[in-house]
Every structure is written in C-alpha cells, then in structure tokens.
Symmetry: C2
Subunit: 307 residues, 2 copies
C-alpha cells in the first residue's frame, strides 16, 4: 500500500521486456516508493499498459491534477504501449523533448516515453540503455570512454563529448540462458555455484580461438559424461566461453579505453574479471541508479519546459 | 500394418534422442518395411523401451523363436534402455562383438545395443554416428579422409586405415534451432525460404571474424527492425554464421582432405556449399543408407558368430 502520497510529484518507469520497475518520486526527486512487477512488455497488449500502470499506482494518484510519468525501455517498442521513434547515432542521449506523449483515458496521468537509439550501419538498436547512459553522463558530464552494459543483450557504447558515438550489441546473455536452460548442456550445468578458475580458462580459450565455441561447448557435455565435470565448473565455462568471444570481438571498444561497467550483479562482475584478465581495467556503477538518474534528468528538463 | 512377415530375419534400429527409425529385414538383408516413430530416447524411461519396440513390431514377430534386434544410437545412453559402454579412439567402428546384450521380457526379442565412441582428450562422444561410419566404411574400405556428419551435433571424423583416428563435435544444429525458435531472433526468421547470397555472405563474415558471432546475430534483429530484413535472408544468415564459425574451427579436418558429407538434406547441402566457398570440395552420401548399412554389417558379423 502507498501511504502519505500528498508529496507525489512524478513517476519514473523502466518498462522492460520481462519486468517493470517504477519509482514514485517526491518534489525533491527523492524516491517515495519503489515498485517492481513481472508485467513486462512481452506480457502485455498495447491497450493493457495503462491499466497495468494504474493498478500499481492508483492509491498514490491525486484526486485532481495530473502527474508526469516518464518511461524508458520496451514500452516504446513496436510491440509496446506506443512506438517511440529512435534517435540516431551520433547523438546525445535522448531527452524529454524527443519523448512520445501517450494519450491516456485516466486524466491523472501525463505519460511520456523516451526514445531508444538506433545506428546504421552497422544496424543496431537500444531501448532503455540510453537512459542509463543519460544517468551516467548526468553524474560524469566530461566522460570520454566506453560504457559496457551487460545483460540479455550486452551493449558496448563509445561516448565522447557527451554523445553516443557508436555502439554494438551482443546476444551473449540470451545465448547463455538458452544454452544453460534449453540445450543438451542443461544436463551439465548447476543452477548456481561458480568456479573462477574454470571461468578464467574458458575466457582465455575463447579469446585465443573464438571459432571453436560450438565445439568447446559440446566438450562440456562430453566431460560431464566421461569425466564427471562439476556442474558449477560447467556453468562457469559456458559463461567464460561466451564472454570471451564477446571480448575478442569488442576489443576495439575496450583496448586502451576508460571502461565503465554499468551493473554490479554477478554478470557485471564476470565482465570485470574477464576484462582484467585481458589487461583492461574497468570500474562499475549500479545499473538501477543510472536508470533512475537518467529518468530524473529527463524530468528535470520537463520541469524546465513546463514548470 | 505389417504383412507377409514370414520372411522376417532381423530388425535394424536407430534409436535417437527424438526419433526412432527401424527396419524389418529379410534373410537377404532387404528391407521388408521401414517404420519411424517419435518415441525417441528422450521421451522414454528405461522400462518403456521394450514395450515401445513390441508395440511397433509385434505383428511381424514369429510365434516361436527369437529375432535379433540390433540397435544403435541413444538407446545405449545413460538415460537410455541400457547403457552401452563406449569404445575409445583410435578404434575401428564398434562391431557386434562389443554390443551390449539387453534382457527382455518377451522371448521373441534378442536385443543388442552397439557401443558409441568416446575420445579423451579432447573429451568427445558419439552415439549413432559410429554406425553410419561403419556403414560408409563397409562400402569404402580403403577410405582415408574425413567424414562430416551434420545434424543437431555435427561431427567431423578423421578416418585412416579403417579406424576412427579422432573426431570433434560442434553444437551447431542445436544452436541454430534454439536461436531460430526461442531467442529474440524468432521474430526475424521465417519457417522456410532460403537466400543463398545471404548465406554465403554470412559464411564469409564468420570465417573471417568468428568472434563477432553474438554481435552479428543481434544485427539480424536490428536489421529486421530498421531495414525490414527479409525473413528468409535472416534464417539463411543465422545458418551461415553458425556453419561459418564451425568451418573456421574445423579447418584442420577439411583443409587438403578428402571430405565426404554424410547426409543429403538441406543442412548437408548447406555444409557442401559453405565448404566449396572455402575452396574445399566434398561429396555426399545418404545418411540413412549409411546407418542401415552399418547395422547390416553388425548383423552379418552376428550371423558369422552365431549362425
């Protein structure tokens, strides 16, 4: 239940494919309440977004007047709430001026969806990460370097003079999940456990011989059958092989660059370890903080425009 | 229905993970009937194999006496009917002498499961392909070269002096199916259609820069969103990227070797095209014929031992 909401000023929303995170914000940009839900974009039809949002925040909404709701992420995808056009690299992280205004039945909501960023060529897209980038740049306006945003689809982003110069997406996280959960290797991996040595060896293998990936993966199955390979080692090797080939391909992004990993979870730590092994140092920042800071920056600009 | 089975002499069985193929054979080693079923190993508990077999062939079994049933494939896996130990490289393709005899409740069956082949190091295993190899060698006893056996788990096998010298398995077919059916790229690919130019370009890309695979895969998604990439081109590119990195890793197997592709389906054709593009020529033989010939060779030896 939401209490004491007389101070609700605006709502920040990160509407991803599988999850929805929102923050009720006061007029000092402090978080009154953080709400998470599994009603991600993939679970909703366009006409279900408004009701989903109302269901989560109705207790907090004022009886009169309207509350700005600033959204980033897959709510703006073609299959989302309303398609929010991309901005195109090279570009500043999209701001509220470029947001798509969404009409709602409930007059208490004033919904904005921030655009994603596209690149051509090579073709690439992001939705959500651009807001994390904006959040990072709000705190580091002079940053010149590379952001690595691990996740289902890991992004490497070259930032210079406050702009997104170029980026490249790798399906590493999604491949890891598919291989561990759905392929024949599901019989080999454990649900948890970590073997740092197995991870490190796999990163090295993959960096030095990336083409062998589909063979090295099957070796894990064979070693389970023939050598009783430990299930934590199997999982760590799959992770190391996939992150290793990604690092080999992303070398122009991290070699000799200042790298910041946006994320502090297990997967972000694994990227940091793998980079260190390749002689690159990276620091990390918390991804969720960056998202919220990016939405705060958008809201601040909205307040300037229509105080 | 099985008719006129007075001539049934033995039963050849290829019991795979997802499918079961069997042939009712006369005393001249001719096929009386070919039966396929989706009761593969993965769908059965160990105590269900006998009943499954009986259900498919009972009409053909004689009232008295017993019929040899010679099986290859996953029936011999740890999760199969009875585990049939592997033979170890370098070795001749396993023969009936090394088969595991399986006790049955029905006295009309005399079941043998042929072993698979293992390798250490690098750790690798096969179950079923060794029988295709035996079938190929039965017709080409002097072959010295490499067999490529495309499929869910593609095998490259170095054959010399009638022996399996070494082999290497790539999860290429399984990765292709997972990526096309389950990943975000399922929205990009068509169920059928082929774009030979897109395939060829992807093979080249992957051979020259194998590490980029996870990025090149995501580009397909981005091109669907941004450039309306054709769904047949998307599917062909995924295939080309995966076969391309496999060829890069398997180069020691095919470079300057006589290569025979065991298979004549779409995927086998794709391997042939990709190899030709790399300057290697390969001929192909029908996989099912090789399986049956391998089982015939095992039966012939059984008949010698216990006529």
């Amino acid at each position: 239940m939401v209490n004491n909401m007389e101070k609700l000023s605006w709502i920040a929303v990160d509407w991803g494919t599988s999850h929805l995170r929102l923050w009720l914000m006061d007029d000092q940009d402090r978080v009154l309440q953080h709400i998470t839900s599994d009603r991600g974009m993939a679970t909703l039809k366009p006409d279900q977004f408004e009701a989903t949002l109302i269901g989560l925040v109705s207790d907090a909404l004022p009886a009169t007047g309207s509350i700005p709701v600033i959204c980033c992420g897959m709510a703006g995808a073609r299959q989302g709430w309303v398609e929010a056009p991309y901005t195109k690299t090279p570009c500043l992280p999209p701001s509220i001026d470029q947001a798509t205004r969404v009409a709602t039945d409930d007059p208490r909501l004033k919904v904005y969806i921030l655009p994603g960023i596209m690149q051509l060529p090579p073709a690439d897209v992001m939705r959500g990460e651009e807001t994390q980038i904006a959040g990072f740049l709000a705190g580091h306006p002079d940053f010149d370097g590379v952001l690595c945003l691990p996740g289902t689809h890991c992004k490497w982003v070259h930032i210079s003079a406050g702009e997104v110069v170029s980026f490249r997406t790798f399906m590493t996280g999604e491949l890891f999940a598919l291989i561990c959960n759905t392929s024949v290797l599901r019989h080999s991996v454990g649900a948890d456990g970590w073997d740092a040595e197995a991870f490190a060896a796999a990163v090295s293998d993959a960096v030095s011989r990336p083409s062998a990936i589909a063979g090295n993966l099957f070796s894990i199955r064979a070693e389970t059958l023939l050598c009783d390979l430990d299930s934590a080692a199997a999982r760590s090797r799959i992770s190391g092989l996939l992150i290793g080939i990604e690092l080999a391909a992303a070398r122009p992004y991290w070699l000799g660059q200042e790298v910041v990993i946006v994320g502090a979870s297990g997967i972000a730590t694994a990227y940091g370890v793998a980079l260190a092994q390749q002689g690159a140092t990276a620091r990390s920042v918390a991804a969720e903080d960056m998202t919220l800071n990016g939405l705060r920056a958008a809201h601040a600009k909205l307040a300037e425009v229509s105080p």
